[in-house]
């Protein structure tokens, strides 16, 4: 187990380095965008004087690297600064939205992950039957349709025709859990449909891959029933690739949901990021991107740790 702890710390250290590099990239990418916050906020009606006045008030007349290191100095001590546009603390602006995003992502994950792994196991078990084909066609259809299209189709059938669920998911703080789940149902379902195919197909492929191995042949020959062959013998060896795909999809549920947020008017972090980029609001862009980067790093780490735990051989690299 000592090896594992060392690995976790090593990876966390590397992750910090990655985040630092990401922050530099983001900062200069925002700098490279044409126009700056003063022009973006004042719009077409901006005059030379008002733009200059605003730049001075926001300190944008100082060189870029000075501003970057000021921000970095704050960030290291946990102070991500204030939004240049609204003057609100970045942590305040982001926290509620990030909680909403996490809520939607976990809601979708709790449903999507078990369903897709089960479907994967069953399609491997009954491969090349009608069940397998239907499951494959359905999931491939949903993953191939753009998210906003899926969202609109669900709205049409479940909100407009059948009025079972609200078409827009406006949340407020005083809603009970049940109402929250009801309000967020359609965006959750859209996300589930989008991520299921990937995880299901990977589970199916990983298991089928193993079914040709000699030890599975052995299990069959000694008379183990097919479901037991898969669950007890094939699945344990297939976990590593499955966990990796699950981690990737979980990251996607957090970072890639802007379209779903727009279609269902869900107040998540994606919309915040898009607006912040449009206004060149660097501290907010930076904070959102770092959250996304950290999500990827942590989930990748979790996937690796998971893979090692399920496969003792990986604990002793040669």
């Amino acid at each position: 187990m000592g090896d594992l702890t060392r690995l976790v710390f090593k990876r966390l250290g590397l992750g910090l380095g990655t985040i630092l590099v990401v922050s530099v990239l983001i900062f200069f990418a925002v700098e490279l965008l044409p126009g700056d916050i003063a022009e973006a906020v004042l719009g077409q009606g901006a005059t030379e004087e008002t733009v200059t006045a605003m730049r001075e008030q926001l300190g944008l007349d100082r060189p870029a690297f000075v501003r970057y290191f000021e921000w970095l100095g704050g960030a290291v001590t946990g102070d991500f600064g204030v939004s240049l546009v609204s003057g609100e603390r970045v942590s305040d602006a982001i926290s509620d939205r990030f909680v909403n995003t996490l809520f939607l992502a976990s809601y979708a994950a709790v449903i999507a992950v078990p369903i897709s792994i089960l479907l994967g196991v069953f399609t491997a078990l009954y491969r090349n039957t009608i069940f397998d084909r239907v499951a494959n066609v359905m999931t491939l259809t949903t993953i191939s349709s753009p998210e906003f299209f899926l969202g609109y189709v669900l709205i049409l059938f479940l909100a407009v025709r059948a009025t079972m669920f609200p078409a827009i998911s406006s949340l407020s703080g005083d809603m009970g859990l049940l109402e929250l789940l009801h309000r967020a149902f359609l965006p959750m379902l859209t996300l589930v449909l989008v991520v299921t195919a990937h995880m299901m197909r990977m589970t199916r492929a990983a298991i089928i891959n193993l079914l040709a191995s000699p030890y599975i042949e052995m299990a069959r020959l000694k008379g183990t029933p097919p479901w037991k062959v898969i669950v007890k013998h094939a699945l344990p060896n297939a976990w590593a690739p499955i966990i990796n795909v699950v981690a990737l999809n979980l990251a996607y549920l957090i970072t890639g949901v802007v379209l779903v947020e727009v279609v269902f008017v869900y107040p998540g972090i994606g919309q915040l990021l898009v607006d912040a980029v449009a206004k060149r609001d660097f501290p907010v862009v930076q904070a959102c991107c770092l959250i996304f980067a950290a999500t990827f790093i942590l989930l990748n780490l979790a996937a690796d740790v998971g893979a090692i735990l399920t496969n003792p051989r990986l604990r002793h690299p040669k």
Binding site: P34, A38, V41, L42, G43, Q44, G45, A46, T47, E49, T50, A53, M54, E56, Q57, S83, V85, S86, G87, A93, D96, Y152, I155, A159, V160, T163, P166, A167, I168, S170, S172, V262, V263, F264, V265, P267, Q271, L272, D275, A276, A278, K279, D281, V284
Partner: protein, 535 residues
């Protein structure tokens, strides 16, 4: 009246009550059914027009709102900020439903004889949501927020001719100008000039969201939603709803679905493409209101070939506006007549003949100018207006009949207003609504204006502009703006294809006044205080 007529009238009155037909339709149909106009009008008042009723939560879906918006009146730009401002804050004056100017925070106002000094009397009952009385100090600080060297307000230019703003007692504000400006009370309706509480040092406290408007903010978040409840001390009539909930619905489809499923009671914009389909829904009332926003096509009058008025007029005659309105604006537009003064603005001259599509006359004008077989380039971009490029291509086709070759040049969206507009000789531009013709002409048609987009210099026009600005007599002003319109139409360098309409909708259980203000969508952005639930 026969029994059959009576049944018919009752049916029409029913239709009017549920919002399926408008007041005008009601009266026309009733007259057709054999009533006199007076009886029909009386019937409308007693039978059809519902009296406003109090109560309910008005859920209002708005397009155009960002999470990066703020309460700072100097940076108001999106609909979310503007509509919220008209709901929780007040202005000195307001534009009424019929297009006239009415009182808001100011009870009355008057000018010195040359219109260079204005006095506004503040309503003494007006109070902020915090309970504090609204006084002259608050008004002065709120206006000064847009003045001075270090202001970052986008409305700075509108107050550039203000010399000083002083108070005369707690409820009187005096504004002194460098010259006469009869439009100052109209300017005070500009969405930036919301009144906020003053700090002791003469700045304003805008961050808290306090205001003197009909509703106070209970909670909310920019780019998501706002909850407001009635401010009991509001100084004007209206505010029938108990609560107002503003939802930012940027996605056109989400907006439409929310309206259809009843998740919201009104939306600020519907897509023109699907307007006809939405019209079939009996639970929805669509409003199609001519606005003062316009699409313009300025030609640089200081450059060949546009330096010849005959060429400019040929270009204007070569446009089939009806076809453009039908195909590009889906009918939701008001035909332009090449002067930038919309029927939605005051002093609009009614009797100016409409310029029609006349390729033959265009040809003969070109012949006269010695410019037959003219070839010009028209620069445009899709960001200007949804369908701007299509519109340019359609115009190019129409102009062919007049022997004019129009090359449509598609420019990049980014930087269109800095690299193309005012630079390329013939462009396509979109203008937001301005409250009066004077503001519009001063901004974009005055000889020395920074945004004189057609570089048009006409001495008489500029002389009239200054006369009109300081003229307090409405009849004389009307005459002046009529003459200016004729000059712009027949000598100016700007083709105006159309003024775009505001198209918005509400569920039919929402009652709306007969006349809806045309300054913004949703009754001049004041739906929350002017509309009501019929039941």
């Amino acid at each position: 009246m026969s029994k059959k007529d009576q049944v018919l009238i009752n049916r029409i009155a029913d239709a009017a009550r549920t919002g399926r037909i408008s007041r005008r339709d009601f009266i026309n149909t009733s007259i057709a059914a054999g009533l006199t106009a007076t009886t029909a009008t009386g019937l409308w008042t007693t039978k059809a027009a519902a009296q406003p009723k109090s109560g309910g939560t008005f859920r209002w879906g708005l397009h155009d709102g960002n999470t990066s918006d703020t309460h700072d009146p100097g940076s108001y730009v999106t609909r979310q900020m503007i509509y919220l401002a008209h709901t929780h804050r007040s202005y000195l004056t307001m534009i009424n439903g019929d297009g006239s100017l009415g009182p808001d925070l100011a009870d009355s106002w008057e000018a010195s004889a040359d219109a260079s000094e204005w006095t506004f009397k503040i309503n003494e009952n007006a109070s902020f949501h915090s309970g504090k009385k609204c006084t002259a100090d608050d008004v002065i600080a709120s206006l000064n927020h847009h003045r001075g060297d270090d202001t970052t307000s986008a409305a700075k230019a509108l107050l550039s001719d203000v010399v000083e703003i002083t108070k005369d007692g707690d409820y009187t504000v005096k504004i002194t100008l460098t010259g006469g400006n009869a439009d100052l009370p109209w300017l005070m309706t500009d969405y930036h000039f919301a009144i906020c509480p003053a700090n002791d040092d003469g700045t304003i406290e805008w961050k808290s969201g306090d205001g003197t408007g009909p509703y106070k903010i209970d909670g909310g978040e920019f780019g998501v939603n706002w909850q407001l409840s009635r401010h009991d001390g509001w100084h004007r009539e209206g505010a029938y709803f108990d609560k107002v909930e503003i939802l930012v619905l940027n996605d056109p489809n989400a907006r439409q679905t929310a309206l259809v499923t009843g998740d919201v009671d009104a939306v600020s914009l519907i897509e023109l493409k699907t307007m006809a389909l939405l019209q079939r829904d009996p639970n929805i009332t669509i409003h199609n209101i001519p606005s003062a926003g316009a699409i313009t096509m300025p030609m640089h009058c200081n450059k060949a070939p546009f330096d010849n008025p005959d060429v400019r007029n040929a270009m204007k005659l070569a446009m089939n506006r009806d076809e453009i309105i039908e195909k590009i604006a889906f009918g939701a537009a008001t035909k332009g007549n090449d002067f930038h003064h919309s029927p939605a603005q005051p002093y609009w001259p009614e009797d100016i003949p409409q310029r029609e599509y006349d390729p033959d006359q265009a040809k003969s004008l070109l012949k006269k100018a010695g410019a037959e077989g003219l070839t010009v380039s028209l620069s445009t971009a899709d960001s200007v207006y949804a369908g701007a490029v299509d519109m340019a291509v359609l115009y190019a086709e129409q102009a062919k009949a007049a022997g004019i070759n129009v090359n449509v040049v598609r420019e990049p969206n980014d930087g269109y207003y800095s690299d193309v507009w005012l630079v390329k000789p013939f462009t396509l531009v979109s203008w937001g609504a301005r409250p009066t013709p004077d503001v519009m002409y001063t901004l974009a048609y005055k000889a020395d204006a920074a945004w004189n987009e057609s570089y048009w210099v006409n001495d008489r026009f500029n002389e009239l502009l200054l006369m009109g600005k300081a003229e307090l007599d409405d009849a004389k002003r009307g005459e002046i703006y009529r003459e200016m319109a004729m000059l712009a139409r027949d000598d100016g360098g700007t083709i105006i294809p159309f003024f775009n309409n505001f198209v918005y909708a509400n569920r039919s259980n929402v009652g709306t006044p007969d006349a809806l203000a045309a300054s913004w969508e949703c009754d001049g952005a004041r739906a929350a205080s002017r509309w009501w639930f019929t039941g």
